[in-house]
């Protein structure tokens, strides 16, 4: 039980896929323009990561060592297809905005990385915990980036049509933050902040 909790917890900060392991960056930078997008992207990744971890952990005794990568990719690709078609059917505007990033979950290094490094070596329950933890860690960073970028770039955060907080009267929002360079700036500064906090704690 403690082991499972440890597996879950490690993904949140210590082995956070984005800030610490530096994998799965592309999608994180691209979809974090709006909080709403990050929520959908985060849930898609959690779903695919957890489900593929379960299946891969189940079939791990019968998978031949040499053919494992193609087998993992096919498992992941089927779950991504489920997400792809579901979003397309029920949330067309979101699908339109996330665009290429949904199919690209297949090659998101977080998912294949966890399949290879964890799910193919550990029992099912621990793999579920690992998938959930890493997925939540990913979503968490995505959400923070989305909030920073949307708030500073457009002056307000809008989720499902409701405005959560509004700074518009106080300053002229720099549009650059919701455009491409803003993603790099935000992520670089976020990493720097984490390093700074860790160094202060270590002292």
């Amino acid at each position: 039980m403690i082991q499972i909790w440890e597996d879950f917890k490690s993904g949140l900060i210590l082995e956070n896929p984005l800030l610490r392991l530096m994998i799965g960056l592309c999608s994180a930078l691209a979809v974090s323009t709006r909080v709403e997008n990050t929520l959908f992207m985060g849930f898609s990744v959690i779903f695919v990561l957890t489900c593929s971890n379960v299946i891969i952990s189940f079939i791990r005794p019968i998978v031949p060592e040499k053919a494992r990568i193609p087998i993992f990719i096919v498992v992941i690709a089927s779950f991504v297809t489920i997400v792809d078609l579901t979003l397309k059917a029920y949330f067309p505007p979101i699908y339109e905005e996330l665009g290429v990033w949904i199919p690209l979950i297949v090659v998101n290094c977080v998912i294949l990385g966890r399949a290879e490094a964890f799910a193919s070596k550990h029992p099912v329950l621990r793999s579920v915990a690992d998938g959930l933890g890493k997925g939540l860690g990913y979503t968490f960073v995505l959400l923070i980036m989305g909030m920073i970028r949307e708030l500073s770039g457009t002056g307000e955060i809008v989720v499902f049509g409701a405005s959560l907080s509004c700074l518009k009267p106080y300053f002229e929002p720099p549009r650059i933050m919701v455009m491409f360079p803003g993603a790099f700036f935000t992520f670089g500064l976020l990493m720097g902040l984490l390093n700074w906090i860790q160094r202060r704690e270590g002292r």
């Binding site: 592309c26 990719i73 290429v100 199919p103 090659v107 491409f180 790099f184």
Partner: protein
């Protein structure tokens, strides 16, 4: 002829795959610490990407469309084509040209999970996936020119970035920002520069 030139330019500069669209960032930060390795990586990307688009074009037009499976199976089909192709290229290169194999060897397995290859193949083959401002007919010469543009754009960005990062090693940087964080901020500045190309020739 002019249309091909514009198509190339759109893929190469205006929608630069790394700095404007964030696709394929993992190798961008992973192998861009030395100019030499970044050149090796980008040559491999040009090679694999062009081949992958060609094969995916054939699979899409002669297999998925006649069987009416395009919408449902394009993700698994394309990623399997790419994975198989990379394996195949590796085997052939080892026999035919050991020197080239030595130069590309370490980068080849990495490329299977490089989202840039999957993105380039899907965009240039599947209609309605990515909207360009020019007319694009999804014929094979257009698909090739477009993919080549993407691949050479990748090369330009990664080699340029490696050159900057080599000098960055000796520059005085605030301690918490050393290493990756400053690289991200520099990428943001480079991306800012590339945004200046948008609107070129009305694209």
């Amino acid at each position: 002829m002019e249309r091909y030139f514009l198509l190339f330019l759109a893929a190469f500069l205006i929608n630069n795959i790394l700095l404007i669209r964030f696709i394929g960032l993992c190798p961008f930060f992973g192998v861009s610490s030395k100019v030499e390795t970044s050149v090796g990586m980008s040559m491999t990307v040009i090679f694999v990407m062009t081949m992958a688009t060609m094969v995916c074009w054939l699979v899409w037009n002669f297999l998925l469309i006649p069987l009416n499976l395009g919408e449902f199976l394009y993700i698994p089909a394309f990623i399997l084509v790419i994975a198989a192709l990379v394996q195949f290229v590796e085997i052939v290169l080892r026999k035919v040209s050991p020197t080239l194999f030595k130069a590309m060897g370490i980068y080849l397995p990495l490329i299977t999970t490089n989202c840039a290859v999957l993105a380039a193949a899907t965009e240039s083959v599947k209609p309605g996936f990515f909207k360009l401002n020019i007319q694009y007919g999804y014929a094979i010469p257009e698909a090739l020119v477009y993919t080549l543009g993407i691949a050479i754009g990748f090369t330009l960005a990664i080699v340029m970035f490696a050159a900057i990062r080599e000098r960055m090693e000796v520059a005085p940087v605030p301690r918490p920002l050393k290493g990756y964080p400053i690289a991200f901020i520099m990428a943001g500045l480079a991306s800012l520069a590339f945004m200046g190309f948008s609107g070129l020739f009305g694209l």
